[in-house]
Symmetry: C2
């Protein structure tokens, strides 16, 4: 089984091309340069950065990127490298460039979650067909090793559910709302001022970023082709200070979760805010940190925690992938592919089952609770608990918190529609998943 | 780079031998049998269990181990397998059997922390020389993927410190003492009754089990030959209910930690109870769960959490390793070796620097604090905070809690020795590390 490397091969450097020199790209270049000696020792062969493609070479000012390496011709660069690192983001031209790289026999490292969530299986197939590697640890949870454990460590186990806090912006906002009792708008402004949210925060707060990660996690966990379009996606812009207060009263905290589940009928993938128990390990994930909680049949509960974004942490994950691929090249071997052989059925988002909490504003009148209960019963939903609050600021109205047993999201929404047409009901204020202790 | 597998090779099963069929061994056999189809799909070749060696074949009663596979001849079994799984534990005959397996060209999976902590580097070398794999995810933190992230994901980063709760028994005991205010003896009895502690709990409560894991983690983190003898080891049998109460008053909780640190002078490895802030992610690790907290230069803080022991979780980690090695065999490749090239100096245990809390019983008399402070000053230790408690149950005595700035353990112990000789001092009750917010 011994691998034979000729002295000439051992001395030939592995050629690395970098597409993009933004925050993550320039930090990746820094690690490759600063850790060059250590990395060579671990790989068994030197590595050489042979080119960095950017839109405008004049904008690259970091001292560790040699000016002579800069090019605007990505198409050409990907054909003269053994490993191509893609950090430009977006679907095109990233997709075309990576396919070209893979078809030219280069291995690929990417942090591009949007691309993987829409065209991942196409890229995984191209890598397998060309006998090269595609690694993407940085695409989910930044520096947190989560892709590798799912691809390799848990390969002999059966993953039943993965729940992740995979978006730092929304976790920061919800955390601030919880700790300081402020509104969503106030927390968003604060996050923008502190650099935790973009000027246009849509992709984060509407859950699209988390949905891309959910699709990638589902592929890895269930060996099934799951794309971003398959992920039922709900953001946090509608979460109110009253929702946060209700969660607190129920000994829970609201987190935006990406959840993929294997059920007997098939798999579900969703992103939504949910109330989780205070003693759940995910409840202790504060600020912009990320964490991914895995429920596996034999391994039991596992959690992976760390910084989900930022130049240096993401670059650390990228370089870890580069080293793995370089080692494979140095030894003439190959990492695990991403087999999507299971073809489990993907259920519609609203078939996903859970307990829910519905907050309803009702007239303070006798018989209201009976009418509300009957409406739930009409939809076959069994109620687990009801809390009635007398509202001081809204005389004549009460607020009901109705917690259901486990039911489909669909049936809860149909119930809410009927409730909205009932006379003593002012309005359904919110509907949210609530997780058990 | 494409790997070529002939049809005959593809059909030849990979031969797996299992040494030991205790709790973990029988669960490992179960996963290999129950998941056979999935595993073959992921490996690209069938796997076959060719033998299970045990001391007494009559004691193996689980239905999924075919009686015809049982043997008492481990020496012979290891020579007719492609992958040898060692789950017998202890140093010998495990060491001799694994060396024989490696030298016969078999790859090895082991969960044997005691063996790796004393002879790991010898085994890693034998694996590299024979061009085969040695994997041992289950040796640290059971099912938690921690070995693989350190070996592979963080390979492009620089690990500065790893702190782990790596022993479930002691975490359960300290957690019970904290939650219920009971004594160490009461908590130990409870743990034994519930199966969380052995009849002879020495290896756990005196920190030896954690020290073995610390040595393994240090090798992986710092690429330096660190053995169990290099680990300064202190258990929890001396931790009192008063220590727990003091920690609580200082907004901290006591955990038994395995800590390996890279400093400018070299590396330190230690196991000791320490007071950690309540908002530290490790503080939320309850019961018999384990967690490993990694501080890396680029990746920042990472934490890995899960069940550190138990048949099924440990077996999950073992099978993950088996699949990785089987994939390598199927593709004619090899996993990363464990290069111990850095040769960092290993510092003496008591050179390890930290803040400490000393609890001292003193006469309630004027001038005591001045004398105590002077004694610390004599040893160059600067005091950060002092709390004085009037003891209701011990009239005429006070208790002092003295928190130091960061100093060496050695200097704190020398100070304690001098304090014990001072007239107004009754006794030094305890000395413990305290970690910053």
């Amino acid at each position: 089984m011994s691998h034979v490397v000729s002295p000439r091969e051992a001395a030939t450097p592995i050629r690395v091309a970098l597409l993009g020199a933004g925050t993550v790209g320039s930090q990746t270049a820094r690690l490759l340069v600063e850790q060059a000696q250590d990395l060579s020792a671990r790989i068994g062969r030197p590595m050489q950065l042979v080119g960095v493609s950017v839109l405008d070479p004049d904008e690259v000012t970091v001292p560790w990127i040699d000016k002579s390496l800069l090019t605007t011709n990505s198409e050409e660069l990907v054909t003269r490298a053994d490993i191509v690192i893609e950090l430009i983001g977006g679907i095109e031209p990233a997709r075309t460039l990576l396919l070209k790289a893979l078809n030219s026999g280069a291995s690929v490292v990417t942090a591009n979650k949007a691309l993987l969530a829409t065209h991942g299986p196409e890229l995984y197939k191209a890598a397998a067909e060309n006998g090269v590697d595609i690694y993407f640890e940085a695409a989910v949870g930044g520096a947190i090793p989560i892709v590798r454990p799912l691809r390799e460590s848990l390969v002999g186990d059966r993953v039943n559910r993965v729940m992740g806090i995979v978006n730092g912006t929304t976790n920061y906002i919800l955390d601030e709302m919880t700790l300081k009792g402020i509104t969503f708008d106030e927390a968003l402004k604060d996050a923008q001022a502190k650099g935790f949210a973009e000027a246009d925060p849509t992709a984060d707060i509407e859950g699209f970023d988390a949905a891309a990660k959910a699709a990638i996690i589902a592929c890895l966990s269930f060996h099934t082709d799951v794309r971003m379009d398959d992920v039922r996606t709900e953001g946090i812009s509608h979460v109110t200070a009253s929702d946060i207060a209700a969660a607190k009263a129920l000994n829970r905290v609201i987190k935006l979760l990406a959840v993929v589940t294997r059920t007997e009928k098939g798999i579900t993938a969703g992103v939504y805010p949910a109330m989780i128990p205070l003693n759940h390990p995910l409840a202790a994930v504060h600020g912009s940190f990320n964490a991914v909680f895995v429920e596996a049949e034999a391994a039991g509960d596992l959690m992976f925690y760390g910084q989900g974004a930022g130049g240096a942490p993401t670059a650390s994950a990228v370089v870890g992938d580069v080293v793995s691929e370089a080692r494979h090249l140095s030894h003439g071997s190959l990492g695990p592919d991403i087999p999507l052989y299971a073809n489990l059925p993907i259920l519609e988002g609203d078939e996903d089952e859970s307990s829910f909490v519905m907050r309803v504003l009702v007239l303070d009148a006798p018989g209201v609770l009976a009418k509300v209960s009957q409406t739930f019963a009409n939809h076959g939903i069994s109620i687990k608990a009801v809390t009635q609050l007398q509202l001081k600021d809204k005389d004549g109205y009460n607020e009901l918190w109705i917690t259901t047993h486990v039911v489909s999201e669909k049936s809860v929404h149909e119930t809410a529609k009927d409730l909205d047409n009932l006379v003593p009901i002012q309005s359904v204020l919110s509907i949210m998943r609530i997780f058990e202790d």
